[in-house]
Symmetry: C2
Subunit: 195 residues, 2 copies
């Protein structure tokens, strides 16, 4: 059975809904999960965008905000429309990239997402991250360790790999050479991993 790489961006609303569910779905399906944080900014720039397409395209954005209300209600997830969108997210992404294989990473990722989309908190601030890490039982030094120069390269490498994979948005699942985009594709991606 092939592992499933979950490619996500902490600023992405649909990544939130997917990230809250992916670990349980993989466990139920018996599929190995690999967390892959990356940055959407450079990938949007490749498509000629200097902002989220949900801000650039009002019709598309209006739909997304209503859809998120429905989806978070459907899955019983906290929801408060963020006062800032998209939020800076490079620091939590660096933490996630640096500790992607740690057993507490899923817990951390979900706490960051709830802070962003359920509590409207500034998840890029190191104090906020230290609080969230403490809730995962990690020492405050974890933030500094992730932001050290030698670890920053991990997130950059992920983003470069995402570009090479043809990724254009978030979230995504990658199984072997197959890319599955969108929150709705989790089930198909898990089926593919089980083939």
């Amino acid at each position: 059975m092939k592992p499933l790489e979950f490619w996500f961006e902490f600023a992405s609303t649909y990544s939130y809904v997917a990230a809250m569910r992916i670990e349980e779905l993989c466990r139920e399906g018996g599929v190995e999960l690999v967390w892959k944080p990356f940055m959407l900014g450079p990938i949007f720039a490749l498509q000629g965008w200097n902002d989220s397409h949900f801000n650039l395209n009002e019709r598309r954005g209006s739909y997304m905000w209503r859809d998120l209300e429905r989806l978070t209600d459907k899955f019983g997830l906290p929801w408060r429309k963020p006062s800032r969108f998209p939020r800076p997210t490079s620091n939590p992404a660096r933490v996630a990239a640096a500790f992607a294989r740690e057993p507490w990473i899923g817990d951390f990722v979900r706490r960051v997402y709830v802070a962003n989309f359920g509590e409207d908190r500034e998840i890029d601030e190191p104090e906020v991250l230290a609080t969230l890490l403490a809730e995962c039982g990690r020492p405050a030094t974890t933030v500094q360790a992730a932001l050290a120069d030698e670890r920053r390269a991990l997130l950059r490498a992920n983003t470069e790999r995402a570009i090479a994979l043809g990724i254009f948005g978030a979230p995504n699942c990658v199984v072997g050479s197959e890319l599955f985009w969108g929150e709705e594709a989790l089930g198909d991606a898990i089926e593919w991993a089980r083939r």
Copy 2:
């Protein structure tokens, strides 16, 4: 229980996958289905596009073509990548708008989609439409009846209504005041109609 309006465009690949399944899904769910053909061109123009975004955005387009191979395989639907995309579709859309409430409309819509995406045929040509209508047991005069001036307004009115509904792509389901976009949202839309 609220009826479900299925808003589709014959040039849209994801509308194909959804259109092939929607009638059966509604029947299974006990939901009344209303066929709503419209034109995406004016709606793309509102978003500043002079072509399908799958052509304008190469990363997005590459993904869609692979995704369609997977989805048509998953649902057992015919698939041949069309030699022309997007195809002109106003004539089949006029027929569907003119006869949207006829009992043969679902059969006709599916035959047009299979001709476009399973057989690479020019579905805007009246002779092709006459052949497809004959397969539905309809006389050849059906095309001319749909293209008459007094009936053309039906498709234009649908497109104007789609704009007013906030539609930005296809396919869509509209249930009451709720819009559900995308092939993956059919299940949620049917659940909404049953609430």
